[in-house]
């Protein structure tokens, strides 16, 4: 009896059973590792009341690619957990920001390292931890802190998710993943934190055994579904950024 294959024929099939109200983490940082094709399929599917976890909601640059901001614009998002609810330059405006300012969508603003560590904690079975980050700031107001060896720390909780969307460079049929350079970013953490990890893969999927076991970035036990990104224009690929959106 052969085990069920992890390879899905297309993006729509890979996320057809994601219900309304799901918590979805989106990999990627400034381009590399961002699951553009999965996000586009989720836009088409129209799944509602999502909680989206990512570093940013996107949309600050041209060409604009499928992003969480578009899911918000499409009325699919209840809440976003991210490290930017506004752009770093006050003169830029993220598409997301106006929905947040108007109260149409909730947001939880989390320092980037705390976001990464909360995801890692969720995957690693650590329910809560202390961090020095954000102590003494508005983000710590009214929250539990603790002095350890003379320094004040903030209590932070794990951030588990239902689904992770990530983009990898290569995968094998066992679900083992390799990322190339800055692609890695949040992707391994999200794969570990999620019950269901769906991966868009750039290169043709290799047979199990093709990877050196020492050079696997995410073990296949954390990966449930794989889809190879088709060639452009059908598949979406990372593009060079040209300018900032205004």
């Amino acid at each position: 009896m052969a085990p069920p294959s992890k390879i899905y024929p297309d993006f729509a099939a890979a996320l057809a059973d994601i219900p309304d109200g799901s918590i979805i983490a989106f990999g990627g940082f400034a381009g590399p590792g961002t699951p553009y094709n999965l996000t586009r399929a989720l836009l088409a599917q129209g799944t509602k009341r999502l909680t989206c976890i990512a570093n940013t909601t996107g949309g600050a640059h041209q060409p604009r690619m499928p992003d969480i901001g578009m899911l918000v614009e499409n009325g699919q998002v209840a809440k976003v957990i991210c490290s930017f609810t506004a752009a770093t330059r006050p003169t830029d405006v993220l598409p997301f920001t106006k929905y947040y300012e108007s109260g149409e969508v909730e947001a939880e603003l989390v320092p980037q390292g705390t976001l990464a560590e909360r995801l890692r904690a969720a995957g690693a079975g650590v329910p809560a931890f202390y961090t020095p980050t954000a102590v003494g700031t508005e983000l710590a107001a009214g929250r539990e802190t603790r002095v350890i060896h003379g320094r004040e720390y903030l209590l932070e909780y794990a951030l588990p998710c239902d689904v992770a969307f990530v983009r990898a460079w290569r995968a094998d049929t066992a679900g083992n993943l390799q990322f190339r350079l800055a692609q890695r970013n949040f992707c391994p953490l999200m794969a570990m934190a999620a019950k269901l990890t769906i991966v868009e893969v750039e290169e043709p999927i290799l047979p199990a055994g093709a990877f050196d076991p020492d050079q696997v970035h995410v073990p296949g036990i954390f990966v449930q579904r794989l889809i190879q990104v088709p060639p452009a224009p059908e598949g979406l690929w990372t593009m060079r950024r040209q300018e900032r959106a205004r």
């Binding site: 770093t88 990322f179 970035h217």
Partner: protein, 213 residues
């Protein structure tokens, strides 16, 4: 000489001279990224970006970029020999664990107390924190590069931050177009003035008391 002082690249160049042999340096978005273009002689500096890129070099010209490789500002950078990639939790483990010798960031305001603000503008509901709070709280040193005043001419070096702070009491060195300054509790000490900038001129454009260093 003009009373504008240093250009953006000159501010970055001057601050980069403070980096010491073997330091691990994190450069924030904006003017700080210009530091990696600076020639600092034979010193070996390892540039670290929040996305887990350790050991990057100058930004690559159009056509030579690797689209899988960006720094924290999304610029397509090069890698130097000895580079290594880690994931985001390990990258912030490096930051939070105190392994960054200096982080150089932009800011809206720096206070004489060493507080600074760079994530939220007045009246906004949202903000852009990114890795700034982790870096500010955990790097061994926090250096700030910013224009000495706002476009309206209001001082950015102030007695107390009016905007929500990123971290408290952490800034030890500030480069502006007017020179190099160090927060010293209730004042800023002048370490160096840009060519053509007088102490009196700098003092006039500084919100907190200015002292000779």
């Amino acid at each position: 000489m003009s009373e504008l002082g240093w250009t953006r690249q000159q501010m970055a160049d001057r601050l980069a001279q403070e980096f010491e042999e073997g330091w691990i340096v994190n450069l924030g978005v904006g003017i700080p990224t210009l530091c990696s273009n600076t020639d600092i002689g034979g010193k070996q500096i390892t540039y670290h970006a929040e996305n887990g890129v350790i050991g990057y070099g100058p930004v690559l010209p159009a056509g030579e970029e690797d689209l899988h490789l960006v720094n924290a500002g999304g610029q397509n950078v090069s890698l130097l020999p000895g580079a290594a990639i880690v994931h985001h939790a390990d990258s912030f483990g490096i930051i939070r664990g105190g392994h960054i010798d200096v982080t150089v960031m932009g800011a809206y305001e720096v206070a004489a107390s060493g507080d600074f603000a760079n994530w939220k503008v007045g009246g906004a509901k949202g903000g852009g924190i990114g890795g700034a709070m982790d870096l500010a709280a955990c790097a061994k040193r926090v250096y700030i590069i910013l224009e000495h005043t706002t476009r309206k001419g209001e001082p950015r070096l102030v007695p107390h931050c009016a905007l929500p702070v990123t971290a408290r009491g952490v800034v030890t060195l500030v480069a502006t177009n007017l020179g190099l300054f160090a927060p010293s509790g209730d004042a800023f000490e002048v370490h160096e003035l840009a060519p053509g900038i007088s102490f009196e001129h700098a003092a006039k454009l500084t919100g907190a008391p200015l002292k000779h260093g």
